[in-house]
Amino acid sequence: MTGSTHPRPPDRLELRGIRKAYPAVLANDDIELRVAPGEIHAVVGENGAGKSTLMKIIYGMVQPDAGEMLWNGREVTIASPADAQRLGVGMVFQHFALFDTFTVAENIALAMQDEPAIDALSKRIVEVAARYGLPVDPGRHIYTMSVGERQRVEIIRALLQNPGLLILDEPTSVLTPQAVETLFVTLRQLAVEGCSILYISHKLGEIQTLCDRATFLRGGRVTGTCNPRQESVAAMARMMIGADLPGYRNRDHAAVDCIRLEVLDLSLPTSDPFGTALSDISMTVHGGEILGIAGVSGNGQQELLAVLSGERTLGPRDAIRLDGSGIADLDPGRRRARGLCSVPEDRLGRGSVPVLSLADNALLTANRDGAVTSGMIRFDRVAAFARQCIAAFDVRCPGPDALAGSLSGGNLQKFIIGREILQNPGVLIVAQPTWGVDVGAAVVIRQALLDLRDRGAAIVVISEELDELFEIADRIAVIAGGRLTPGKPTRLTNRDEIGIAMSGGTLTVDVTKEHRHSAAL
């Protein structure tokens, strides 16, 4: 607790005894939180700890059952997000609220109270973008943008309101180390200008570098506050999860098997003017190996995933080979039947159908092995599969009938990855396996991938989170501008080298080759 109050300038935001109960769960209980002007304050907690509910209360999307809120020392009631914006609270959501078919400027105009003219607004967007190092083209359509780029739009949208308090929900999950640094520069600059920042995260390392204070939530209650710069990561992890951080089993794995997935000189022009053309992609993935593909979002990851998973089929059969036979012309269902499964980056609306139950969502891809006989669904087997998946991957939910959309991000992701792993794939392609997922769920997911690898599967992890790749990948390749560098054993490379390759340099330390590579771009 922060201790006694002082007759100093009032806190930007103070919460006293905030409580919010839902029918099944006490989401927030007696929450105390104080954020000083210009302070960067972390709110740390596991999935379901009550972070989201608390932020929704501050942003006026949810009304607390009890407690008071003080804004600059004055008691306020925030009845709606519009109220919050009027007070000066800006929010950047983890799940972005952007209209795909509108441009950046149009999306931002929609959120403004006083519908500004698009031209004038575009100028302001470019100004703010330049000032805070968030390059974005106001005329671009959202659907052409990657997750990382969409996040920039969200941040700029919040900044245009000149907020006194900016709430960011897991903002760095999709950024390169360099981009995270840039974001931190932006955030520090904002803080110096007097804007308070509520930084929701579970990345303790980042919290240490960025935040002035941290408040820990567990089970809806505050379990402690600290100055993160004076605490060890392990101590903070204990405050967050109430136990020591779990480690990974079986880091030394068995010898690498034969080649299971092979891509040969694959080039693919893009039909979308903002898409990325793939050029001369070659890769091999062996059984018992995890190949990590790093890269800044929007460099061809979506296109590569579509080509590998089969969502985009190709003419020449042999460009992609699975266990020695060409599969490039097969759709995702046929590839799955041959043992190639995939997990997309979007959990809702791609990896799952939010309005369908978990059992139905299991059937989405796990529809062989007796789940469907003579064209009819065997509901008992589907439900049994869903239950098995829920149990094996610690998916916290009421049961197979729970709607996918009602699960938290981490739990839904565990379910989706579990669903694919339980189909015993020989090759698994995973995009952003732990995006926006809390520590506990991320550990479960990464361990599951490691276990699958140890059983002899070949795994491709496309991730924008470098820490993750260094934790689990055996080799790391980098995708930049639609080109893929050769994979390099993880222990022979480092974050700086990968970071340089991500911005278009080469992965090898050899300087002469770097020249050739950038010339080709």
Partner: protein, 348 residues
Amino acid sequence: MVWLSPVIALTLTALMAMIVFAAAGLNPLSSLATFILAPVADLYGVAELLIKAAPLVLIGIGLSVGYRAGVWNIGGEGQLILGVIFGGYIALHFGTDGGVWVLPAMVIAAAMGGMLWAAVPALLRTRFNASEILVSLMMNYIAQLWLSWLVFGAWRDPAGFNFPQSQPLAPGALFPILIEGTRANASIIFALLAVILGWVLMNRSFVGFQLRVTGLSEGAARYAGFSTHRAVWIGMLAGGATAGIAGVGEIAGPLGQIFPTASPGYGYAAIIVAFLGRLNPVGILFSGLLMALIYLSGDLAQMSLGMPSAITGLLQSLLLFFLLTADVFIQYRLRYTAPARATEGAAA
């Protein structure tokens, strides 16, 4: 919640009907009672209800398959007319020979005709991404003109005093009557079969699951490897086949011969039936009966209440209007805010 909106829509439609009656100087309550009860006061009336409901339910089921997959087939009317043309061709050319195969051949030909008409929008949608809504709607007018051309020309009954109608269909080309002394015929069986098949398809089969996923989330369908093109084809053809069979059921049933106006708008009314029944086969069974009742009541209202024939269309449309409105209000909340200052730039 999903069934609340039809109930609200029905209530509001009944209220509107009473207002219309009152405006026409009638007693609203007794008129409404007449409107609802009189058509089904005897067995003959009930049979009439069933025979009107049969095509509506049949087409409604077919359309709902597409609608669940996000395939918007508005061409039920044209597909029905193709059923009339194809089925009618068999009946006129082979009906008098009286083979037992004539009737099954008529039904199959009608289904093929409906599917052929539905295949055009399906092909244009899958090949060129043309809106199936517009194409299927336009195909309705083509079908209507084709039928008129036939009945005013080649198919006109020489003994028909120059009326635009075909020869009466041979007895062997007519659907068997199910209830003696009424017109209730075998088309009712087709409708019930469609309800059962539709339910099994959408609720039990994997194909139905794939269609539902495609309708709910195209992204998830693509990821799972469910072909969206296949969904378009299945959705369109299901509607075409059922509408075609419904069409031949009219000429081989209550009409007994081919008129240019073979369909009293069943292809359109079935759209309302499908949505009123919440795209659920059992729901469609009930909404089909309801819509049939409005058809009968409308006819009756002309005679006993002195209302114009437009009352049928009025009430059917009101029902759909209230249903869609209720859906909107169940899912969204109206909020009053200060009028936003519109600028030209914001509209760009």
